[in-house]
């Protein structure tokens, strides 16, 4: 240790702590490099961050809820303070969820923030995925991170469904029954799978306890592991950036982690948390006391799952009543829309980086992002796919829409089935033409700085002028000249 590094009484505590830690970890140079890391800035890079912060809120509120929730199907008579259900027989799980809502101080706000956080987490995850897709951020070298992301998406959808299925209310019980019937529709092993998972025939004696362990331990642990790897890969491979002056495939232009990026990230966390708390306090979500305890022979009209399950519910409704029977065996209707469709969906999603590389024969490294207009075919394909799943999503609300718009469900079904076949190609075609038109308008500008490069393949940043130049330059100039210097 040099004389300059010697500790004296006057050394600040933070510096002494750093030295204490470094003497044991030798991490000073590693951490210094981490603090110096550069992050490119763009509003769309915030989407993944919002998902991350929502997930943190999910964990925090979720831990609080576990202290009060009782995952048991043992039947008791409700004695809590919600008058309409007093004296009603119900499971301990449902009763403890009612207690959380009415008798645990701050319990309701925690429950609602948790549920809102789940919806926002999945929404921001999906929009983040769209950003990655439309800008080509999944291309080499980031295929592995794409796979990690798709894995997290699937597990998070499952965990969201499992989470709201725990409460043993009428709505969640209906969802579980549908899940059971989907499981037994799987050929050959389906009935085995359902029996092992549910512990017998629906509803099964151990189901809620099992779902609880899956919801609070198994899936969160796997998601956290994948999330850690996801973030580690971003750090290792560095973030992508849009092309612009001085931005090339071989550099990263942006802000340093310490302090600017770290401060912005921290602000994003607190603002996300604030939004979720405002939603959880002011916007009622999943009012289980209105649904009543689960009774297998009952169902409420307008049963709607959470939004991220909507496309599956829509697929179940809109799929025709086809059943294949041969040699005494059968492939029941629910198998196609609720096992085959999600299987194909997620398989294609996971394989997309490899499929695209095969189609375009582009296997080079990419650190500069595409603008969607410069890849009209990919953009058109993405838009068509989104149109398909959006129609399914609205199809899942067919009964609610029929009531709202005073139309017959039958007419709506026909409309949705037609839209499912017509809308995706139309939306894709419109997106394609829009891309071509936007790219064409950009072209004169592109020749300013570089000789004509094939516009569909921007390889270096100079070939594309940034559409928006630094946004606050005009506003800063007057401020710094007209401002009165003080102090």
């Amino acid at each position: 240790m040099t004389a300059a590094g010697a500790l004296t009484k006057a050394t600040p505590l933070s510096r002494r702590t750093a030295r204490w830690l470094d003497a044991r970890l030798g991490a000073a140079s590693f951490v210094r490099k981490a603090l110096d890391k550069v992050f490119p800035d763009h509003w769309s890079f915030l989407l993944g961050e919002l998902a991350l912060w929502s997930f943190v809120i999910l964990i925090a509120t979720g831990v609080y809820l576990t202290f009060f929730f009782d995952a048991s199907v043992e039947e008791i008579v409700y004695q809590g303070s919600y008058v309409p259900l007093q004296g009603v027989e119900m499971s301990r799980a449902y009763a403890s969820a009612l207690d959380l809502s009415f008798d645990v101080r701050a319990g309701l706000v925690m429950r609602q923030v948790h549920h809102w956080a789940a919806n926002v987490y999945l929404a921001t995850t999906v929009v983040h995925l769209m950003r990655i897709f439309f800008t080509g951020a999944f291309r080499r070298p980031r295929e592995l991170n794409w796979l990690l992301g798709v894995g997290m998406l699937i597990l998070s959808i499952v965990n969201g469904f499992v989470g709201y299925s725990l409460l043993d209310d009428q709505l969640s019980g209906t969802g579980l029954r549908i899940a059971y019937n989907i499981a037994i529709s799987i050929p050959v092993g389906g009935t085995w799978l359902a029996s092992l998972f549910f512990g017998g025939e629906f509803p099964g004696p151990d189901l809620i306890e099992r779902l609880y362990v899956i919801h609070i331990l198994l899936l969160p642990a796997v998601i956290i592991a994948l999330l850690g790897a996801h973030l580690a890969l971003v750090a290792r491979q560095r973030h992508t950036q849009f092309s612009g002056p001085g931005r090339t495939e071989r550099n990263v232009v942006g802000e340093r982690v310490w302090p600017t990026f770290a401060a912005k990230g921290t602000a994003a966390f607190f603002l996300t948390a604030a939004m979720l708390c405002a939603l959880g306090g002011l916007a009622q979500i999943n009012p289980i006391w209105l649904y009543g305890p689960f009774r297998p022979a009952e169902v409420s009209a307008a049963s709607q799952p959470d939004w991220y399950m909507g496309w599956l519910d829509g697929a179940l409704r809109l799929w025709p009543s086809w059943e294949i029977r041969a040699f005494g065996f059968e492939l029941p209707t629910p198998f196609y829309p609720s096992v085959l469709l999600p299987g194909v969906t997620f398989a294609l999603l996971a394989l997309w980086p490899f499929l695209e590389a095969r189609i375009t024969k582009d296997r080079r490294e990419h650190h500069l992002l595409d603008r969607p207009r410069d890849r009209p075919l990919r953009t058109a394909l993405g838009v068509a796919t989104l149109a398909f799943y959006t129609v399914l999503f609205f199809g899942g609300a067919s009964d609610v829409l029929a009531v709202t718009f005073q139309t017959s469900v039958n007419a709506l079904f026909r409309a949705f089935r037609t839209a499912l076949l017509v809308l995706p190609p139309v939306a894709g075609f419109v997106a394609y033409r829009l891309c071509r038109e936007l790219a064409r308008r950009d072209r004169p500008g592109a020749t300013d700085e570089a000789p004509a490069v094939a516009p569909a393949a921007p390889e270096d940043g100079a070939s594309h002028r940034r559409a928006i130049e630094p946004e606050d330059e005009p506003e800063r100039d007057p401020a710094s000249t007209a401002g009165v210097p003080r102090g």
């Binding site: 942006g254 996300t272 604030a274 022979a297 169902v299």
Partner: protein, 306 residues
């Protein structure tokens, strides 16, 4: 390493920024002060609300103020008082050099050869691991029973004798208890909690009702019984359009024709609701003389096999 880039947004603390304060900086600073103050006030409100007995809306708002104040304060602080000049950092090649890869491969293969020298041991070791993996599958079997006849039968077929139909409280049902305009849900006596045995009792218009061939004596007067579980995904078929004699499933809108053997007429269901053979016993209560005409609820692989 730090450059001015394209001269974008020279930071307030950046090179040359020095201690010059502008009116804009003052405004920003006041905003940060206000935001952090709001946060503290929010935290105090939260404490007061909690102590006063708690109120979900106020708690949510107080939390939002406390968290949002901090978030806004830091955001403004970062925006105005932290270096915003863009920094350019070189990207280093991700792939290792050819020498590094060769060295790694050589080291790995050397180790592999050491293992291969005792090839039998290596094979046996892998075999042991595989056997252990297979053995570890057996405990999974304990999770649930073998899916036997349970999916194909309900309590109605268990005893081989007629079972009374009862309501949710276990009270037997007489034909006179039913009315034309309402649905009655019934269960086999003693099995009021069976999820798979819930039964719909319907009073139909005898003039228009067409019993299926072979099921002419499955009705009692104008009363017919079907399984309540939709043949699509097993939801209770709870909506009855009396004037059309249609049963509607609220989950996925499958629709069944009550007058015609509960055949599906709309929606994703592919099979009719199974029918229950009805009779009355000597005391005048409704009984089921056997099990449903088919396995109830959603289909499965070997549903048609016995």
């Amino acid at each position: 390493m730090s450059t001015d880039g394209d001269g974008r947004r020279p930071g307030a603390n950046g090179p040359g920024g020095g201690e010059r304060r502008t009116r804009r900086d003052d405004r920003a600073e006041r905003l940060v002060v206000a935001a952090f103050t709001v946060s503290i006030v929010g935290a105090l409100i939260l404490a007061v609300v909690y102590i006063a007995g708690g109120q979900a809306q106020l708690e949510g708002v107080a939390l939002a103020l406390a968290l949002g104040g901090i978030g806004l304060g830091i955001a403004v602080w970062a925006r105005y008082f932290m270096a915003a000049d863009e920094v350019v950092e070189e990207r280093h090649a991700l792939a290792s050099t050819e020498e590094e890869v060769t060295a790694f491969t050589a080291a790995f293969e050397a180790g592999e050869q050491t293992l291969a020298r005792r090839g039998l041991l290596a094979k046996l070791g892998l075999g042991a691991l595989g056997a252990l993996g297979l053995a570890a599958l057996f405990p999974i079997r304990s999770l649930g029973p073998r899916p036997g006849q349970g999916l194909k039968n309900t309590a109605y077929g268990d005893g081989g004798r007629p079972l009374r139909l009862v309501d949710a409280d276990g009270v037997p049902i007489r034909p006179a208890d039913l009315s034309r305009s309402s649905l009655t849900t019934a269960w086999p006596e003693g099995h009021e909690h069976d999820a798979d045995a819930s039964t719909l009792l319907l009073q139909v218009d005898r003039e228009r009702f067409r019993p299926l061939p072979g099921r002419e004596d499955w009705v009692v007067g104008d009363i017919v019984a079907y399984s309540k579980l939709c043949t699509h995904t097993g939801c209770p078929v709870g909506l009855y359009q009396t004037e059309l004699d249609l049963l509607l499933c609220p989950c996925h809108q499958s629709t069944f024709d009550v007058l015609n053997g509960a055949e599906p007429v709309f929606g994703p269901a592919a099979r009719p609701l199974p029918q229950l053979p009805l009779d009355v016993d000597e005391e005048g209560f409704l009984v089921a003389t056997g099990d449903f005409s088919a396995p109830v609820a959603g289909g499965f692989w070997d549903r048609g096999r016995t």
